[in-house]
Amino acid sequence: MLRLARLARAQATASPSTKAFSTTSVTMKKAAPSTPARKTKIAFKVLREQTKTKKPGMTHLEFKDAVGALGFEKMAADLSALELNKLSFEHLAALKAQVTRYDAKVEPKLKTLGSFKKLQHHELFQNPVSLVSENTLRLAQELIAKLDSTASKDNRICLVGPNGVGKSTLLTQAKALALAQHEDVVLLHIDNGVNLVNGSSDYIFNQKSGKYQQPMLTKRWIYKLRQVNEEVFKKMKLTRDISFQSNRVDYNLKKNVNTVYELLLHNHDFGKFAPTSAFAFFVDELVAHSKNFPVLFSIDNFNGITDYSQTKYHHPDFSHIHLSEFEMGDFVLKVTGGALSFAKGGVLLAKTSDFGQHRSTLDVALGIEEYDPYSKKKFLDVEVANTLKQNGSIKPFEVKTWTKDESKELLKFYQDAGVLFVNDYKTKESNQTAKEILEEKAAVRAGKLEQHEFDPVRHFDRIVNNQYTISGGNPAHLLKASAFIF
């Protein structure tokens, strides 16, 4: 190539008269037009706003969220004709295997605490309902009955069982029963334990206490607790003086004069992005009053906290912050481990099977699984397990699947409420040809073929048998088989 180029250059210099072939843009350019082009006015182009065509439809949400968000419960039929019994502690034994409603006072409290979750099919009815099973009776005996007499460190239970067996519902029932049994019970409920550790909140280090604080998380939780326990907190007089400033107003709350409710109402330090001791003060008040006001501390999805003890939050050197280094996390570990005990009360935890089964911190703490010294720290946090094992360990409570009678009772309720359709089965009629239809009619006339008679009672029994077999007595599977029956 080089040689060829040199040759071409030599030729060009040797004979200037001959034009060398070139493909440059100058030589290939068009000749300029003889008449000058008309001057065009330069103006700004008005950009038209590109309007997006709005798509029609009820919602932009997915099924899981849409079902909860669209307020379908308002369209549900009125169930007052069925005369459902209230869930009460006194007559609990008589309510066995019955579908019950929650008390009108209790229900909004449970809603505020986030007890009614997605995909529990609460949208089928105007108000949430639940069935009193053998598990409910057992839990009422083992935990709720002791709330008035036992310290919380000696009254710790963790609900365990397979996916969909009704652990969260049992937790809700326990709260309702606690409120029914004792007027002045304080409910401290965390509806999803993972929220403490999954990095969803802001956080700040408090040098005085040596712990990280999560202002938004704490603020929201305190707000819920204030709404739910309003009546009880109004009865609790402060045991210490406290002064603080909020909205440029100075507050000086006096002991034995002002109440815990006033503290929670006026003190905005819980959500302030600055080191504060408000939460510690609140906990101290609860402990001081627990002799007269029993405390039920409950956490749903508890293994979301323990099995992810190395949280998603980071130190300034980007190492993970441990659960115990958080103010809320430390509080949870102390209460569940029994280091911090309420004079009267109980701790009710529920495990979830949503997380990986290989994470075994909670199982080891409960004694369900043996301690494996070779296990990675990521999967087994021995410190957390040992903390939970203190003070006599947490008692595992195996939630059992429903019996056939209980399942039948629920399906009967569904049928009465108009949710379950007991229809006649389809025959081949729709696919028959004209000839086949004529033949069939002739056969019926001749008495060879009987007209099919539909027996709804017998058909309902068949549905019960079928669905009980499919679900194996697991309430979630039973609900799914009933709701998605088509």
């Binding site: 029609p56 919602t59 949400l61 849409a66």
Partner: protein, 252 residues
């Protein structure tokens, strides 16, 4: 191989029972049937144990049959000779119980129920892509759940009514005349064809809804069509109009 397996099963099965008889005599109550098997006849359960004589008799019978003995005499010989003709043992005969027979009689003159609803099935098949039927069924189940929640009526019944309202009655087909102008001939549609048109229009319109979940979009469109608001009604009217305009071409 199956023959040998069947034979060995017949031959060796009784042996442990005999030995067990000394230990647990109560177990053998199940042998008290009217038609005892050949094994039970040759090796009766009341034998306490196998003696040397029994084994000698067995070996003698084996040797005799091996040497070509055809007329069988002793019990052991009878038993062993049956191994050569295993057909009755291999025959698998089902004998229904009385309860089963009564049930059959009860349903003898009645129509056979379908496993699932044929129209829901056709909707499932039209939604299905790449043979993933269970996925399509899940979509329909969820859609029906929303339809129920919204209307508080049987969703299958609503689908039936919607398809009946939305499905066109006639379509037009082009008939080649061989000349310059072809004819448009109105043709009535069958029930299945009407449903297919209606389902296609529902699926088309549902794709324009805003939810990212197909089940929600489908439910919204079925509810809209049930309330008479679907775009499919325009298509149906257009089809009927075309058919009406060419009604002169109907050939009776």
């Amino acid at each position: 191989m199956s023959l040998i397996r069947a034979c060995t099963r017949r031959v060796f099965a009784p042996c442990p029972r005999i030995w067990l008889s000394a230990l647990r005599p109560a177990v053998f109550s199940r042998f008290n049937s009217n038609n005892p098997s050949l094994t039970a006849q040759v090796f009766p359960v009341n034998k306490d144990s196998i003696t040397e004589n029994d084994l000698d008799e067995w070996l003698t019978a084996v040797k005799a049959l091996k040497n070509g003995k055809t007329n069988v005499e002793t019990e052991s010989e009878v038993y062993l000779s049956t191994l050569a003709t295993p057909e009755p043992f291999l025959e698998q005969k089902f004998e229904p119980s009385e309860q089963q027979l009564a049930e059959v009689e009860e349903f003898a003159n009645k129509g056979i129920p379908l496993k699932s609803d044929p129209i829901v099935d056709s909707l499932t098949n039209m939604i299905m892509r790449h043979g993933k039927k269970s996925k399509a069924q899940k979509i329909i189940s969820k859609a029906f759940y929303i339809i129920y929640l919204k209307t508080r009526k049987d969703p299958v019944q609503i689908l039936y009514e919607t398809l009946d309202k939305l499905g066109p009655l006639v379509t037009t087909r082009t008939q080649l005349t061989g000349t310059a102008k072809n004819k448009l001939v109105p043709v009535p549609l069958t029930k299945k064809q009407r449903n297919r048109y209606a389902i296609t229009w529902i699926l088309d319109s549902s794709s324009k809804k805003k939810s990212p979940d197909f089940s929600v979009r489908l439910a919204e469109e079925i509810i809209a069509a049930y309330e008479g608001k679907s775009a499919g009604y325009d298509k149906k009217a257009q089809m009927h109009k075309t058919a009406m305009s060419s009604r002169a071409n109907i050939q009776l």
